[in-house]
């Protein structure tokens, strides 16, 4: 029997260093992506009630880029969604019951293909594509090569851009003021299931 753990992946993540409180508007189902932070702030934020958390583990000072750190984040802190540039860490998060998102830098078409060679391509390991803004410019065959779920991460600076990217991505990372302009929110995705036809309000 294959057990599928349903990890809720909100359509919107708000980038945060975890040091400041942020509550999503009631109509918006959003999470916090903790990045450019440190270990005490990460632990503090994980202990608080609030939106679901994801962490860009490569940008947390004090945490090493190894499996022990991933286990600490997933099992001790209970943060199930882990972004990383390191394929083995993304796979490690998946092995612990979390969702690993391999950060893939998309600067040109050739570089994108090279970057995807090292993708673990296994269940529970998706793709965080950076800059997220480029996603709308990918060809269908390029998009089809990206293991899902897809998180669009970086330089998404307007609600309109976020909504257009969400036609192709499962989730986007934005700043708080952009997220607050995105209500009413669409139905969140659930990892392991194709998202329903529900789409963000685009007009």
């Amino acid at each position: 029997m294959t057990e599928i753990l349903h990890i809720r992946l909100p359509l919107v993540y708000v980038a945060s260093d975890g040091r400041h409180d942020w509550e999503p508007p009631s109509a918006l189902e959003a999470g916090l992506l903790l990045r450019d932070t440190d270990l005490p702030a990460l632990i503090h934020r994980a202990s608080q009630q609030g939106p679901p958390l994801a962490v860009d583990i490569d940008t947390v000072s004090g945490l090493d880029a190894d499996q022990v750190a991933v286990a600490f984040v997933v099992q001790r802190l209970g943060i199930e969604v882990v972004l990383t540039r390191r394929p083995q860490l993304a796979a490690g998060a998946a092995a612990l019951g979390g969702l690993g998102l391999l950060q893939v830098l998309a600067f040109d078409s050739t570089g994108l293909l090279h970057a995807l060679v090292s993708h673990p391509r296994q269940p529970r390991v998706g793709t965080a594509i950076s800059p997220g803004l480029v996603l709308v410019h990918l060809l269908p065959e390029e998009l089809g090569r990206l293991p899902r779920p897809i998180l669009a991460y970086g330089l998404i600076n307007t609600p309109e851009a976020a909504r257009s990217i969400l036609v192709r991505a499962d989730s986007v990372v934005v700043r708080p003021q952009i997220a607050e302009q995105m209500v009413p929110a669409p139905v969140p995705a659930v990892v392991g299931y194709r998202r329903s036809a529900t789409r963000p309000a685009t007009s």
Binding site: D36, L105, A106, F107, D108, S109, T110, G111, S130, P131, L133, V134, H137, L138, L139, Y153, G154, L155, N157, A161
Partner: protein, 200 residues
């Protein structure tokens, strides 16, 4: 008996003038698309991959066709992105050297080549640090990647006198025109149909 005319390396302004005449530069590998690029309207070839230790033949062919060549030091095989790698490329006759390493820009200029620094757009807060680094390293040209999003992010970039190129995921005429309209002097693209595009 034929009299070969020795290639004279261009100045930065001459290099930019050639791009302004044909704004879509051909992004190629040594093994692929070289013939098509030489036959196209593009005046500058950007070699992104290939054997960096065996470039002379390709460089001579491009120069013999009256065109200019830039080589990406970080991506080309066989060469390290350091001063010795820069010197090798310069002695191979390339007109411009591309790198993401800002500390190599002075060395590239010292070798008499045009210095092109890549600005990799990832996140807004990283972008400011990258732009500050570029202002310290002093390249002749900045290549912004992915160039297809330049129109969306140009307002976030500090004003600068350094000319911009846009490269990456530019595959349609409208994308090329939008990048130039946003302020790029030209685009680099591996999409051959664009190499013959005229953009005023």
């Amino acid at each position: 008996m034929s009299l070969a005319v020795a290639h004279r390396p261009p100045t930065a302004s001459e290099f930019l003038a050639r791009i302004a005449r044909a704004r879509c530069c051909a992004a190629i590998t040594v093994d692929q698309k070289l013939d098509a690029a030489i036959a196209s309207r593009a005046e500058v070839m950007f070699i992104l991959r290939g054997n960096g230790l065996d470039l002379s033949s390709a460089v001579h062919r491009i120069h013999d066709a009256g065109k200019l060549v830039a080589v990406h030091l970080d991506l080309i095989a066989g060469l390290r992105a350091d001063r010795a790698g820069v010197a090798w490329l310069a002695r191979s006759g390339v007109d411009a050297i591309i790198s993401s390493h800002g500390q190599l820009m002075p060395a590239i200029k010292q070798e008499g080549a045009i210095a092109i620094q890549r600005l990799l757009l990832v996140r807004q807060n990283q972008m400011h640090a990258a732009v500050a680094a570029i202002s310290r390293s002093g390249p002749d040209i900045v290549e912004v990647l992915p160039g297809v999003i330049l129109p969306d992010v140009i307002h976030m970039l500090p004003k600068s006198n350094v000319p911009l190129l846009a490269g990456g995921f530019i595959r349609t005429e409208s994308e090329a025109r939008a990048a130039v309209a946003a302020g790029a002097v030209g685009v680099t693209t591996s999409w051959p149909p664009l190499w013959d595009l005229t953009i005023d």
